[in-house]
């Protein structure tokens, strides 16, 4: 008897309400639209995530590598009940957040990746993800881990998350914390921002295309590159001087 192996490998997603788009005003006055995307959009954003795998700063490498795998898993139907939200500014991809429903009561946050640095872009996207679990999917708590000090400050400290160290998070051995409904309510007026409905022109711009980030995080640059550029466009003189200094000449 012929067996359709793909049907066995592919988990069946449970129905979940969609995330209604919202708009957040950033500190620079720009409007950031946060919306849900589907599987068909994943091939568009994967090329924007891949370069960050090579950015060895602020744990972009590990977050991007794992998120890439999770997005691919979602696209290829290898993760059950996963969802992906994106944040866009003028159509440009600013952040990606994802997670999944473990059961009707418990959600699991996977990753938050900011492609536009600063101005709480990642924090706003994370807040939208928590809102999706608690307010829209009506779950009681979300399991959260952090892989970077920035993440730890933004999630564990700002939301005062509860420890769930006895629960194994799907991301591995990092200690698990939880955002409960009660903690979410406490944060609602200070950390959960944005408004609905999104004005039509903004939403249309976001839906039109997911554009690449114009200023994505870059690998650690030589911190003195700006200095070199100002004084010596090639940097040659400085390198020679530095070599001499290192050799004690």
């Amino acid at each position: 008897m012929a067996v359709d192996l793909e049907q066995l490998l592919r988990p069946v997603d449970n129905p979940a309400p969609p995330f209604p788009p919202k708009v957040v005003t950033l500190a620079n006055g720009e409007k950031m639209v946060i919306r849900q995307i589907g599987r068909d959009d994943i091939p568009t954003i994967l090329p924007f995530v891949e370069p960050l795998i090579h950015v060895e700063r602020d744990y972009y490498d590990i977050v991007a590598a794992r998120l890439y795998a999770e997005l691919l898993g979602y696209y290829r139907h290898r993760v059950q009940d996963e969802y992906v939200l994106i944040a866009q500014v003028n159509g440009e991809l600013a952040a990606i957040v994802n997670g999944r429903r473990v059961n009707p009561q418990v959600g699991m946050s996977y990753h938050t990746l900011s492609l536009k640095r600063g101005m709480r872009v990642g924090a706003h996207a994370f807040a939208a993800k928590m809102e999706y679990h608690i307010d829209i999917m009506k779950q009681e708590e979300v399991l959260v881990v952090a892989e970077s000090p920035i993440g730890f400050r933004r999630w564990m400290i700002e939301y005062n998350l509860e420890k769930r160290f006895h629960i194994q998070h799907e991301l591995g051995g990092v200690p698990s914390y939880a955002l409960t409904r009660e903690l979410f309510e406490r944060a609602r007026h200070s950390l959960i921002v944005g408004s609905r409905p999104v004005p039509k022109p903004l939403l249309e711009k976001a839906m039109e295309a997911i554009l690449p980030p114009s200023d994505p995080p870059k690998p650690p640059f030589d911190p003195l590159a700006a200095t070199r550029a100002a004084y010596d466009s090639t940097g040659t003189a400085l390198r020679i001087q530095r070599r001499k200094l290192e050799r004690g000449k």
Partner: protein
């Protein structure tokens, strides 16, 4: 006393620098030597506030003089809190003016981002009185918050004025490639929109997140020389014409009028007197805006505006880059960054760059007289410098 000139300058980006502290100090030094063409100097002063605590390193000047292959010249580290930079310049000025040395290198360097933000706040709070302030949890932001509240009640400064300082300096920093923050901000984003409270949360009432300077790494260098050497170097002649320093009570609550910054007033008056100028002669200034309120308060104390009028001048655009007296064209501590020990040297770097006419897009037109205020503690030890471009 002999005239003293700034003949060479160098700076790193003020941001997070993933280099050892001694290299953060060495790069601007090499840049400054390259700038003036000197390969050696007579003496080295290094300004640093936190290496022993944050980087587990002491004797930074000894390390740097060797790193730069400048041994056996004399080298000393100078610590005067966040005013270390200008204090080191003052020491260099004294050495040249007195005739002890013909050339002195002054480097400021700090690596603060190695520590986490809680440690850094605690480290800076160690400036406060250990028994009368520190043990009660006083930090620099909390002192600044109380100072701001009094200033608001007394002079009518509002949160909007503070935000205007932040926006102005963030915009200036956009034009400075060495600045820490390259983020334009708007009134809507940090004050007026529904989301502003989250974008710009309260830190020390009434001061919000965008009223605070960032914690930065960075280094800067100036090389000082006597007239004879300065004239041989083919760079514009920028004279360090005025040096002033004054102190105030260690505890802020012991001051007769807590909204007066007497050390700023005294240091500026001395500096102007030595330079033979009036505050109205200054064409560009770098003021120590670790908190937005300080730019307003200092602009009054140094005599640019009457007490209580600084926020009005700001409102009228007087202090913007295209105004009559641009303040903090570099972005100031608020947006250029505040690597504490390097800050005062960084301010001097900016003023010399402006007076030389080399500031590019943020150039203040025809600037000939520049001024800096480097503010230690919460105004208890202040150094003010006046620079004049000679024809």
């Amino acid at each position: 006393m002999r005239d003293v000139y700034v003949i060479g300058i160098g700076i790193t980006s003020f941001s997070r620098l993933e280099y050892p502290l001694v290299e953060i100090a060495a790069y601007p030094a090499v840049m400054a030597m390259k700038d003036c063409g000197l390969s050696k100097v007579d003496h080295l002063f290094v300004a640093n506030m936190g290496a022993s605590r944050l980087n587990h390193q002491t004797g930074l000047a000894s390390a740097l003089v060797d790193h730069l292959s400048l041994t056996p010249v004399g080298a000393e580290t100078i610590e005067n809190g966040p005013a270390s930079g200008a204090s080191a310049i003052k020491a260099g000025w004294m050495a040249v003016a007195s005739g002890l040395h013909d050339t002195v290198m002054v480097v400021g360097a700090e690596r603060m981002r190695e520590a986490n933000n809680l440690e850094t706040t605690d480290f800076v709070a160690s400036l406060t009185h250990p028994l009368a302030e520190q043990i009660y949890g006083v930090t620099l932001p909390s002192l600044a918050g109380m100072f701001t509240r009094l200033y608001m009640e007394k002079y009518g400064v509002t949160s909007r004025h503070l935000a205007m300082v932040a926006i102005k300096n963030h915009n200036n920093a956009m034009l400075n490639k060495f600045a820490h923050l390259h983020e334009p901000i708007t009134l809507e984003g940090i004050l007026d929109s529904d989301d502003a409270l989250t974008n710009n949360p309260m830190v020390a009432d009434p001061l919000r997140f965008y009223d605070m300077c960032p914690v930065s790494d960075g280094g800067a260098c100036v090389i000082l020389a006597c007239a004879e050497v300065a004239k041989k170097v083919k760079r514009p002649l920028i004279r360090l014409a005025g040096v002033g320093q004054a102190t105030d009570t260690h505890c802020v609550h012991e001051r007769k009028e807590p909204t007066d910054l007497l050390a700023v007033r005294g240091a500026a008056a001395q500096s102007f007197k030595m330079a033979g100028i009036k505050p109205s002669d200054v064409q560009v200034a770098e003021l120590h805006d670790a908190f937005t309120i300080l730019e307003i308060a200092e602009s009054e104390e140094v005599g640019f505006f009457k007490k209580g009028q600084g926020h009005i001048a700001l409102e009228e655009g007087y202090t913007s880059l295209t105004g009559k007296l641009p303040i903090n064209p570099s972005g100031g501590l608020k947006a250029k960054g505040h690597p504490v020990g390097a800050t005062g040297v960084g301010q001097a770097h900016e003023i010399v760059t402006q007076l030389r006419g080399e500031a590019g897009e943020r150039q203040v037109k025809n600037a000939r007289v520049g001024f800096t205020v480097n503010f230690g503690g919460f105004g208890n030890n202040v150094v003010a410098l006046t620079f004049i471009k000679e024809k």
